[in-house]
Symmetry: C2
Subunit: 269 residues, 2 copies
Amino acid sequence: MGIAFVKGHGTENDFVLLPDPDGRLSLTPELVARICDRRAGIGGDGVLRVTPDTSGAAEWFMDYRNADGSVAEMCGNGVRVFARYLVSAGLTEPGDLVIATRGGVKQVRAGLEGDVTVDMGIALFPDTDDIKVKVGDRSWSAVAVDMGNPHAVVLVDDLADAGPLHEAPSVDPAFPHGVNVEFVSRLGDGHLAMRVHERGVGETRSCGTGACAAMLVAARRARAAPPTSYVVDVPGGRLTVTHREDDHVELAGPAVLVAAGELSDSITG
Amino acid sequence: MGIAFVKGHGTENDFVLLPDPDGRLSLTPELVARICDRRAGIGGDGVLRVTPDTSGAAEWFMDYRNADGSVAEMCGNGVRVFARYLVSAGLTEPGDLVIATRGGVKQVRAGLEGDVTVDMGIALFPDTDDIKVKVGDRSWSAVAVDMGNPHAVVLVDDLADAGPLHEAPSVDPAFPHGVNVEFVSRLGDGHLAMRVHERGVGETRSCGTGACAAMLVAARRARAAPPTSYVVDVPGGRLTVTHREDDHVELAGPAVLVAAGELSDSITG
């Protein structure tokens, strides 16, 4: 047996963590794809290599790769699972911690158990024209939100209105690098439900930046003094999004470690 | 950490093996479903509990459960992965071995590496009327084969003819307990390609009994003296099916162990 791994998920956004305390693991796109294969591998939305940060900004660096092996900058649910692992493995003290990512240094709060919270930074509202989202013969107006990645948020009365979402909704005008589309309905005061179609992936169980975008748009559309904190129910669980006074957006939710073990030679080659 | 597990697959039909040498594990349907959940668990088409056979017929009993937690009798790819584990873990000598299942005692041949072969028994050809299989506006004649489970085999020129197979093909007359539908094309002498829609599941990467049924129908339709052994390419890999002189059907193919470790309390509760 070879490489050690831990599997974990945040609201069913799942990852294979590869502890690499000596920075020795060389991750090829092929190896990442083999690990993330849901049938011939462990399966996951991505790999999180856990390795010391060499920039000096943090103790640990999250080397995040998409399931297809490509390099990715950041992932809200991924960094929460990463923090849960650091605390659980005793690699850092519980409480406030910083984690280096390709998308910058992230502030995270993780106790010994319970939700893990990450500061997702400040959202931008691009000054776009009216955005129209279409699924089949239905269409809606959407609001663009930039959380480091692009979102188009549609407020609907009933999440079922968006249909099966097998295919990407058509968005007009088109976004140059594609867009994640969130359908959001209000369940009560400070309580939303959301479905998301992630660009290049399809409908997913959860999307951390999408939940943040959904919350911000819902709060703008709410009465004069909306709650600063919303519960956002996604298919894979429940997130909490808080719009802080300093304009930063915080994402909180469960981060669970499912199993730990070693990959066999059939994967590591 | 708690329950030990091994993940393995045979032509991408994947399983979570639970070594239980003392017969102590109590598998509830809920626990099986949590383990087989591809995002919040390890993920697999089913669980194979590895436990001593108490009937005296074999050393080991394959306690097979479907991913939804229901009890299942047998699985051709499952028993091959089960045998690979027994040999790999040193729980049995490599070579010819017997494994007890709810579908009877199975004869298996597993070396220290390479393909694993299982005797799938004798097929029955139910004396059914003409069977018609329809996908969209296309329809074909099919041949019924009973491998312990029911199959309807359609010979086509091109596997793409069956279309996306998102939904179950309609079969007329209907089978009382549903039917697996195989689309089979001839690639050469003793060489087939197959796609399968498994009842209650959808299109899958592989189906051991389906490959056997496909081979038998192709051989019947071939020239006077067809090969007794066919290579059957499935989306998840390559199987070999042999029709022996004693009328038994043998299924051979890769069986791979992917990883080993322990499940955390988040799954085992």
